[in-house]
């Protein structure tokens, strides 16, 4: 029987999850800044436990186009993780990486998708390695799966995973920025036993 119930999560667990989010997103920002060779600051991430019906509308509109990058986690922690980028932010990042005019908003082509996948790889990899370093746990990630569609539709995938456990999902919102704001969202979806593993590894 798991100790953690997402519907009745207490402040202590919440603080820990927030801290994990903070450090992970910080590392991810550094990795992204190096990849793009640009200066990126990160605002303090917002961590929220949200009801499903508020998930998409908290992030943006349900019908807004976003890029979703999904991967499975294995090892001491099992589950999955998703990173979501707003369409405009994705264009800015891809343009930077491909050395194009940053205002270019043409639909993504095959090369752009590869670039986005690589960006996703690096961001989620940095996030997971900081989680792994913090907890001393071994975490192996699958290849990232990428899709571009309406936010509501993409969010249904992690929401369904959370739906098996309760009625809320844990969202970590990160705003990167310098002159331009880039909005990204992490959704970490450990399976139920993994919550205990994470918290135990941190001595809680």
């Amino acid at each position: 029987m798991s100790k953690v119930n997402l519907n009745e999560i207490d402040n202590k667990y919440y603080d820990v999850l927030r801290e994990i989010g903070n450090i992970g997103a910080g590392n991810a920002t550094t990795a992204l800044a190096q990849l793009l060779n640009m200066k990126l600051d990160m605002r303090v991430p917002k961590v929220e436990l949200l009801e499903f019906n508020k998930l998409a509308e908290t992030i943006c509109g349900e019908e807004d186009i976003v890029v979703g990058i999904y991967l499975f986690l294995e090892g001491d922690i099992n589950g999955s993780m998703m990173f979501m980028l707003e369409e405009q932010s994705s264009h800015i990042l891809v343009n930077h990486l491909m050395g194009r005019d940053t205002t270019n908003m043409e639909p993504f082509n095959e090369m752009d998708f590869s670039a986005l996948q690589e960006i996703g790889n690096i961001i989620t990899g940095a996030y997971l390695s900081s989680l792994s370093g913090l907890t001393g746990l071994y975490i192996n990630a699958s290849v990232p799966y990428l899709t571009v569609d309406m936010a509501g539709a993409i969010l249904s995938v992690p929401a369904i995973e959370f739906g098996k456990l309760g009625d809320r999902a844990l969202l970590i919102e990160t705003e990167f920025g310098d002159d331009i704001a880039i909005n990204g969202y992490f959704i970490l979806i450990p399976d139920m036993p993994s919550y205990d593993v994470i918290l135990k590894s941190l001595g809680i």
């Binding site: 509109g61 571009v148 539709a153 969010l155 249904s156 098996k164």
Partner: protein
């Protein structure tokens, strides 16, 4: 003036004539529109998971195909629909990511399983499915109009479809 009623994820609403009802950005979830063509009472459920009996935490009826459809029918009957006249139109159940991981086959097929379960539940309740737009790999916004019985489906980069 007819109103557009909004249904969220794991949610359901009755839609009295002449209103319309919508749910935005269906992914692997399934949108189930039920309709009594005589009284024009409509309803829409946005279910996330196939079966409430497989999940311990199942208080939210609208989250599951089995309990969600049952609850929607009950609420529609209270609003003046005749159960024996109800017909259904369904959409959603997409596979949003091209997962190929055999270890997660449960997750790979969640859209399909939602559709299968929806059909099974409707069949046991003798509710005929008039039309469907399910599966594939893209999100859908759906609107059901109680005035006409039209189920309008919008997807990114695709023409609007009425089923």
């Amino acid at each position: 003036m007819a109103e557009m009623i909004k249904v969220g994820m794991a949610d359901l609403k009755v839609c009295p004539y002449p209103n319309a009802v919508t749910t935005l950005g269906l992914g692997s979830c399934v949108g189930i529109a039920l309709y009594d063509p005589v009284t024009k009472v409509a309803g829409l459920a946005h279910i996330m998971l196939p079966d409430s009996t497989q999940i311990r935490n199942n208080e939210n009826k609208a989250k599951f195909a089995d309990t969600g459809i049952l609850e929607l029918v009950e609420q529609m009957v209270k609003a003046g629909a005749n159960k024996s006249r109800l017909v259904a139109k369904i959409a959603g159940g997409a596979q949003m990511f091209a997962f190929q991981n055999a270890n997660n086959s449960d997750m790979v097929r969640v859209g399909d399983r939602n559709v299968e379960s929806t059909k099974r539940v409707l069949k046991t309740m003798n509710i005929r499915i008039l039309s469907e737009d399910t599966g594939l790999n893209y999100g859908r916004t759906v609107e059901f109009y109680s005035e006409t019985g039209d189920f309008v489906i919008k997807s990114v980069g695709k023409p609007i479809k009425t089923i």
